[in-house]
Every structure is written in structure tokens, then in C-alpha cells.
Symmetry: C2
Subunit: 162 residues, 2 copies
Amino acid sequence: MILKSQVEWALHCCAILAGLPEGRYLSTKALAEFHGLPKEYLSKALQSLSQAGLVHTTLGPSGGYRLARTPAELTFLDIVEAVEGKARTFVCNNIRENNPCRPQGYCESSPCAVSRFMWEADEAWRAKLRSVRLSDLTEALAQEIPAELWKSSFEWVLERAG
Amino acid sequence: MILKSQVEWALHCCAILAGLPEGRYLSTKALAEFHGLPKEYLSKALQSLSQAGLVHTTLGPSGGYRLARTPAELTFLDIVEAVEGKARTFVCNNIRENNPCRPQGYCESSPCAVSRFMWEADEAWRAKLRSVRLSDLTEALAQEIPAELWKSSFEWVLERAG
DNA sequence: TTATTAAGGATATAAAATATCCCTATTCCA
DNA sequence: TGGAATAGGGATATTTTATATCCTTAATAA
Ligand code: SF4
Ligand code: SF4
């Protein structure tokens, strides 16, 4: 069970978009080039963000993406779920209904304890992701990335932002 | 990102094995029949449990599996990791090294903030799984499964246990 | 001796992730 | 006003993973 790489891409792209000045947009092309990613496929991840309402888009030259909310109002969970989906990571195949001792016509009313415990763990994962804001990420990155690289990256992006 | 169905199978099988009297073994065949699962493939999941040291096995007629520890000493995490592996669910592809502004020869020392936050969430998931013991599961199942079905299932298993 | 079992290697099939291609409508700009 | 650049989305191809089956071997109980 491994998250799609699009999750990482989306998080990095949002981190970049978080540094974009008000009202400006950054294209798929620029984001793909900056991260060294396949443009067409990254585009699918960005479309997921768009469909989830996390980013705004415009068309035409100088078009692209910008965040739909402030970085403090965007959580990791928003981004992860936009790309990976909201489905729980444990799916119940209801194998208990194959129990040969099960009475005819007997119908289980609710998910069994196995799924409940697994879903609690799933929820713990989501709760943690929900507690991390995009602004937390950008603050942490600003701390750990060398000031010069941080600055030149910002300039690189601004040159290409529409 | 969805857990393999073998995870559910392994949890249900362990729940059954937890009810087995001391010193007795239950075969793949019986476990597969009880849960309505493909015997050969379920066997792979049970082999994973065996390799992880969670169950003991014996060969020959009346051979099969029994728990290697008491249900109170076995956690959900033990079982999930035995089947699904211990690898983290977020893998870092180090795309930051594609940053065009990155100085030549510059080498990132440690994983960036993105992976750290994602790994914290992963750890929250594991911590929750670690906190649930197999005995918690059997207690919950004993509560929610009708007494009669619980009893007949136990008898069904005992008839086939070596 | 014979039947039965776990273990594990080899292989086949189905599903999901990854990736590319192409067409459309929109928008900017020369 | 026309051409270039953009997001969106459908179709398709490739690669990887999950699912499933088959077969051989060694151990064991009866
Ligand atoms: S997890 Fe529970 S509800 Fe889901 S299949 Fe297993 S027994 Fe049924
Ligand atoms: S998550 Fe961090 S360490 Fe991993 S690739 Fe992205 S930037 Fe690099």
C-alpha cells in the first residue's frame, strides 16, 4: 500500500503556489519543469486539485493555477484526498458472510470489529494530515532550505508566473 | 491506496486461531473454507504470518497453524505489517533535486518537510494499529456476534483442528 | 507406506498506477 | 482579428502491483 507519487507532486506544487503573489498564476509547464516531472501526467494531479476546489485556474497565455484559499486554510488532508481520493484504505469484503455456520438469510447489520478497528487507524492517519496546514509546510521549508536557493527558486517562479 | 485484501484475511484468521485450544493447529484448508477464500492464495498470507514469527506451524495430517503468542501479545500492527510490509506508505522520490535553481553538486542532507509530515501521519496510523491487541478484537467479536453463531463456528473449527 | 500438510518457486490473470497523445474551449496579446 | 498558449478531458498505451493458480519438495501423523 503506497500513496501515488502524484500526492508528493501535489504537495510540492501547492508549496510553490503558496509563495505566489496575490492574483498571479503558475502554469503546469512551469510546475513540471521546476520539479522535473512529466507535464501531461502532472496535469492530471493539478486537475484533481482543481476539481476539489483547492485551486483556481485561468486559461490562455499567462494562465495557470493559484491557491483558492490561504495556505493557513489548506490542510495536508485536503491535498492528499484531492489526489488520492477520500475512500478508506481498508475495504471490507464482508467475508464473514461466507461462514458455513451462518444461518440462512442471516444479515449482518453493521461492519464487524475488524473493519471498525482498521477504520479507526485510518481516521488517526487522516486526523494527523488534517492537523498540518500548508502554511506549516512553507514555514518548515523556509527554515530548512538554504536562503539563497529559496530566493532564486522564488525568482525563477516569478519570471514564469502569469 | 488500498490495503491488500490479504490484510483482512490475516486478521480474520488470527481471530479464529485465537480461539483455538492450547497445542492444536488449524490448516489452511479449514481457514479457507471457513472464510470462503481461495486456499492457495490465502496460504501466501499465512506464510507471511509464519515468516514474521506470529504463528507456529506443523506439517503432515493434523498440521496447520496456531498463534505463536497469546492474543494479548499480538497487535493489529504485527499482523498488518506481516502481510503488507513495514515500508512507509509515503515514498520520497526526491524531486527537489530537479530544482533548476539548485547549485551543482548540492546535496540535500535529509528528507524535506513534506516527507516528514507525511511520515508523521504514517506513524499515527501505525501507533493506532499498535494499540489494538488481537484480544481486543476477539472480545469485540464475542460481543457483537450472536451467541449461537459464535458457538457453532467454534465447534466447526474444533472439528477440523488437528 | 500413504495421505496430508506447509513452504515456496513459477507462472498466469486482473487491476491500478504511470504516462502519453490528441482534441476542445478559453484567453491573452500582437 | 488571428495566432499562440493555456486548462480540461477523453482515449489509449505501458508498467507495476495485486490476485490467483499450479506444481514440487520435505515433513509428519496414522
Ligand atoms: S472486516 Fe468485518 S465486516 Fe469486513 S468482511 Fe471482515 S468480517 Fe465482514
Ligand atoms: S518529499 Fe521532500 S525529500 Fe521527498 S522528494 Fe519531495 S522534497 Fe524531496
